[in-house]
Symmetry: C2
Subunit: 338 residues, 2 copies
Amino acid sequence: MTSRTRLTDIAEQAGVSTATVSRVLNGKQGVAEETRRAVLSALDVLGYERPEKLRSRSAGLIGLIVPELTNPVFPAFAQAIETHLAEAGFTPLLCTQAPGGVTEDQYVEILVEHSVEGIIFVAGLHADAEADTTRYHQLIANGVPFVFINGTNPAVQVPSFAIDEVRAMEIAVRHLSALGHTRIGLATGQRRYSATRGKTRGFQDAMQRHLGTEDAPVISTFFGFEGGAAAAGMLLDAGCTGIVCGSDLMALGAIQHVRSRGLKVPADVSVIGFDDGPLLSHTSPALTTLRQPVDAISRSAVATLVDLVSGSPTPRSEILFAPELIVRGSTGAAPRGA
Amino acid sequence: MTSRTRLTDIAEQAGVSTATVSRVLNGKQGVAEETRRAVLSALDVLGYERPEKLRSRSAGLIGLIVPELTNPVFPAFAQAIETHLAEAGFTPLLCTQAPGGVTEDQYVEILVEHSVEGIIFVAGLHADAEADTTRYHQLIANGVPFVFINGTNPAVQVPSFAIDEVRAMEIAVRHLSALGHTRIGLATGQRRYSATRGKTRGFQDAMQRHLGTEDAPVISTFFGFEGGAAAAGMLLDAGCTGIVCGSDLMALGAIQHVRSRGLKVPADVSVIGFDDGPLLSHTSPALTTLRQPVDAISRSAVATLVDLVSGSPTPRSEILFAPELIVRGSTGAAPRGA
């Protein structure tokens, strides 16, 4: 490919003139930072290498600890956090866990040994009410700044950024009850996670408020596909026509279980997921789900961690983010006579 | 939860007795390594923390560079490689790229500064025929062992592990021609990637062999959803009833484009994806796709890198892995009269 076509391609992708692309690639002054970034992004999107002189030194390493990558919401968080860290000049080191693999504590130890400037924990052990919090207190004692995403812990006073589970359940129950469902159940993960506790409380409050139901059924299994299938079985046995799930994977498992009983989604049973991601609009049926504002959560967490790293005073509070209900094909009117 | 229930849970999950769980948790001798690992995995799966004394020191850090996490095949590789590295006692540091973010070269520099024992590149710049290979020669000169996954580069003599693109296309064309399709097109990514070159060559050879077609249509856009939609438009205009795609995201884009023209998948047009992953069996229609043996590729790459790190002689060759055609609902008999 000639350098002529390359310039034209990049200019088109970035929405600027080829002259501007030239200026940026040659490191000339007088180009707005936003424009410069658009050109560099276009270069990356089209897969071209950046000229050596445009590479800036990193402001330092930031550790990013996520539980695993099977649930698509975690790669989505990793990608969004990485983008925002890079914008702030930091280099992310992503630590992911797999069963039998490296643990959160081992990663923390390694990150500290390698002098990271700070750490972002996504749905880590901080979100587990039964887990020990010593590691976090040690980090505080060692002066390593960190923030939590999804899952606060009253024993650890650091800034945390989380989806509003209670509000999410209110939105889900309102949607299903407006469709005429009266028997609704929640299928969610392990009870010791703060995500489960928030959802359970929010769900039961909403069921009380909208339908006058006391002790609405909540089945705690685990957040994967099989966990959803198992919980759905118990909720169908309890007569539910609406199932709210703690993750999209659980929702896919629930849909498969509903079908295995010869029932249809949404004609017989409505199912709502939790998280959302690019593939969920292509499922059969397309999944109605509570979307986590992954980018907004990631941006806020990164901005706060950057403040902490630079020593700015930062409130140690929990910031909650509202979910959006994305209505697709897996929810519909309650079956007649249900 | 009492420690009694915890032991029972773990024993059930690991498929061993509670006495064995106790022995492992107390670090007693006389337990087979496989059993010990099963118990630790059960602990992780159930989300319990490992007792301090069971944590072993890492054999060192291994850098793992993946292009991005939006295409689900990359998180799948990251997770599989992480598992195999941890089994070998190494700690993975995952470096992912996002448009406008940290580049492959910046990551390599940081990993070397932090004394990694080796690096695994997944579909990196080595797979781009137009990219400079200086970084790889510097690594060789500095004695940092590394291996490539997906994408070989004749200019860099290191072990590489890749899906057999040529064979994949042979399988796809055979499947579609057996279903009666005669006009088949390939929708794939940028031409400068070795993945595209292998697919293009394999596709055109297979079309020649199975259908006597010279110069079968190949549209090179890019590997994402919109790239698939755009390529599908051109292939439909060329009269194709079968579309083989370079990624599952492209296939989902192609399906959406086919439908936007009022045509049905697979009644009017059959679509085949590439990669596979847990969500692709839940799409509408469930996607017929060429599955990459992610785990086998990852296991071989890790085993070879571990050999290189320990100084064992290792052949600098390219190992190719056969894909599997997973037939689901997006392919069917060619429409009559096509």
